[in-house]
Each structure stands twice: as C-alpha cells, then as structure tokens.
C-alpha cells in the first residue's frame, strides 16, 4: 500500500541501487508513488505539463565530434533512474546539478556538458506498453532527490527528478530485450528536442564547462 512515508522511504539513499526501478515497480506498482512528493525539500510532485532537462557529459554517451547520442545513454531509466532536472530549478540548482555531473576524480580528464535535451513530463508518462492488455504506462516520473557527490554534507538539490522504467514483462520478452526497448523509446522521445547549450540560461552551462576545464569540479578522495 502506497503512502507518503513509505514512498519517500523507497527513495532513501540506502535503497538507491541498480535495481531501484524494478523494486519500485515491485513494491509500488502502477507509479503509485507519483501521487506523493518523495524528494527532500522538493517543491512538490511533478505535474504532466512540467518540462524536464537531461544533460550528458560522457563521451561514451555523446560523440563530441558528431554530437550523436547513444541509445544506451538512457539505460539509467531501467536501473537506478534517469536523472533529470526540472524547469522550475533555480540557476543555483542547475549549477549544482550540472557541477555534480562534471565532477571527476583527481587525474581524470575534465568533463563538459556535451548535450542537453528537453522533454515534457507528459511525453514520458504517456508512453505505454502496448504488448500488454490495457497498455499500461512504461515509465514513472518522480520528484526524487539524490545525495550530492561533491558537497556530501549539503542537502540534496530539491529540483532533481528521476525517470523510472516499470519493467513490465510482456509474454515472450526477456529482460534484456525489454531494457533495449526502454532505451529505444526514451531515446526517441527525449533526443527529439535538443537544447542549444550555449543559449541555455544565458550561457550558464558554457560557464560551467569552462570552470570544469579549469579543474573546478574535482572529487575529493574518501
């Protein structure tokens, strides 16, 4: 039975792992927790009209030379959630979220935002698994917040969100096949609206990229 507290507990840091998406579907099927706000300090649950952004920093996900994005870049949705940030995020929130993405361990090459995409929440929530009777939804979108990697003592960024695949298994479909379907569907919907990184919020991300190249986002060793 989904209630606010149990839903918040499902996203507790100790429960965040590669099986989070599957566990959510097991314990809170049908996106039951979407009716509650689950994030720490979140401005509230995510409404269908909200716009969400996803940034990619890894050259394995986006080819810096061609700007092509990989389908497998969306794999997080079927494991521990595809991180996105909300349109209502303040510039400070965006700075924090993006600088976390750019954080690299000492001695590693600096990361930069290679691509930024925009999608309306409704587009994700309206995707359905047509191989199952009743065509249930394929994804849930929660106002999930996550622990910071850089300033671990600070509270989570409240305008973070997560997209989770539901792992519904149509008859005759194995899990790896299903996960590929998940990536393919998300790729089509999210990669359709690429945002000009240079123009986004007056060059905010360009500035962060420059700071990253200058070594500003180096993870401390623990």
């Amino acid at each position: 039975m989904a209630d606010c507290e149990s839903c918040k507990g499902a996203f507790a840091p100790e429960r965040v792992n590669d099986k989070l998406a599957r566990n959510l579907e097991s314990f809170f099927p049908n996106c039951a927790c979407e009716q509650f706000s689950v994030g720490t300090g979140s401005p509230g649950r995510i409404y269908d009209d909200e716009v969400l952004y996803r940034a990619f920093v890894d050259p394995t996900d986006v080819d810096p030379q061609t700007s092509d994005v990989s389908h497998s870049a969306f794999r997080w949705a079927h494991s521990n959630g595809l991180s996105v940030f909300r349109e209502c995020a303040s510039d400070d929130d965006v700075k924090t979220i993006v600088s976390e993405l750019l954080a690299a361990k000492p001695g590693k090459p600096a990361k930069t935002v290679l691509a930024l995409f925009r999608v309306r929440c409704r587009q994700i929530r309206s995707l359905t698994e047509n191989r199952i009777e009743g065509a249930p939804r394929m994804f849930c979108v929660y106002d999930q917040t996550v622990l910071r990697m850089v300033d671990m003592g600070l509270p989570p960024v409240p305008t973070h969100a997560g997209i989770f695949f539901r792992h519904l298994l149509p008859s005759g479909v194995v899990r790896k096949h299903l996960q590929k379907d998940c990536e393919t569907v998300l790729y089509k919907v999210i990669s359709a609206d690429r945002v000009d990184v240079a123009a986004f919020r007056g060059g905010l991300i360009v500035s962060l990229n420059e700071q990253s190249r200058a070594g500003a986002f180096v993870l401390q060793q623990h």
Binding site: D58, P59, T60, D61, H71, S72
Partner: protein, 226 residues
C-alpha cells in the same frame, strides 16, 4: 549526390507472397510482403555486383561505379489498400534513392567508430568516476572486427561501451525509424537488438557465429558474416 528513380511492376497477391520484379536486365529481385512492408532480396548472381544478398527495409539504396548497394522501399499507400482488400494483383511503385557518396561516408564513419573503440580500450576501472568496469578488451576487439561487415547502405555506426565493460555498436537511421545494436559481452557472445518502425522489436543473445545469430543479422540488420 542523390537522385531518385522508380520502378513499377506487378506484384502479388497477399502478405507473405513473393514475385520476381524485373527491375533491371542484369538481375532480378524477389519481393516479399510481410505486414505490408516490402522486402527485396538481391541475388549474388546479379551482374550489378551487389555485395551480398540484401534485403530492403529502412535503408536507402546506394549506387557507385555501377554497383548497386542495397535498396529500400515500401509499397505506396494505394498498393497496401489494394492488397488488403483482397486484390489478386497490384501495381506498385518502389522508390529508390541513390547516394553516390555513401560508400566513402560509410568508410569514414567506420574509421571514426574504430578510433572511438581504440580510445575506450585505454579506459581502466572506474573510467566514469562512478564505479564502471574497465572495458573487456576481447569485446572491443570483437566489435572492431565486426565493423568491417558493415556496408554502405548501413547507417553510420555509433561506437560505445557500457558500465559492465561491454562494447556496443549502434546503427540508427532516424529518417526511417530504424535502430539496431550489437552488444559484445566478449569476442563472440553478443546481444542483438533491432527495432523498425511500428513493428515489434527483435532480440537475440548468443554466439555471433551461430546460425541463429547469422539469421538474425541477415534478416534484421542486412549484415552477412563471412
């Protein structure tokens, strides 16, 4: 450089039927209907020196130096309607797009994919600073070798790796709503995936040298292994 031409012929009957299509004097084309999509097979015997037995699907035909590189076509809407209403024969227009630069573009794209794999091969554990495994060198070698099987009609390959150390080749053609991928878990163990238009996607996991894998590669990806 592109140009367009079209052919017209009488074709069968019902979904799943086949007919010869006298497209060119030097060869013939088997046309098969399945779910209203046309499949073309170009026989090796054709004097056009087609690289192999090809199936049309979502790929564009390319021609260079009198060599025919694959074909892609669907019957027009009128044909679909005629067939679905039970007509015995129908005339179909198949449109072909010839891309004279496709072979050189594919060669360049393949070289770029190999260069990316070579870069990834230098990655160690935790290459993403989030705990990813180092790429499996045998998997990368297998993927790089596999790239040589791609032909000019294939979409430009996207080379990548995942956090489990697998090497991945993705073939994406947004213009025709086609996507396929080959995940190398090792030099020979693969996961094959293909998605085309509104059709159900297809998946195979096993030895890339097996008959089942070869069949999948041929039918779903138009790839013939040596």
């Amino acid at each position: 450089v592109t140009e367009t031409t079209s052919i017209e012929s009488t074709i069968p009957q019902k979904p799943g039927g086949t007919a010869l299509l006298p497209l060119l004097a030097t060869g013939h084309y088997d046309v098969t209907f399945a779910e209203w999509d046309v499949t073309l097979r170009v026989p090796m015997s054709t004097a056009l020196n087609a690289a192999s037995s090809l199936r049309a699907c979502s790929f564009l035909p390319t021609v260079k130096d009198a060599r025919l590189f694959c074909t892609a076509a669907k019957p027009d809407t009128t044909t679909n309607q005629l067939i679905s209403s039970g007509a015995q024969t129908a005339s179909v227009n198949l449109s072909f797009l010839f891309d004279l630069e496709a072979p050189s573009k594919q060669s360049s794209a393949t070289e770029h994919a190999i260069a990316r794999f070579k870069t990834f091969a230098t990655y160690g554990d935790d290459w993403d600073d989030r705990g990813a495994r180092a790429p499996n060198q045998e998997a990368i070698d297998g993927a790089m070798q596999f790239l040589s099987n791609l032909q000019p009609w294939h979409p430009a390959p996207f080379a990548t790796i995942d956090r489990e150390g697998n090497a991945i080749i993705e073939l994406n053609d947004a213009s025709t709503n086609y996507f396929s991928s080959i995940v190398f878990n090792s030099a020979t163990h693969v996961e094959l995936y293909a998605h085309r238009g509104d059709r159900p996607s297809a998946f195979f996991e096993g030895d890339v040298r097996s008959n089942d894998a070869r069949h999948f590669l041929s039918v779903e990806m138009q790839i013939s292994l040596p």
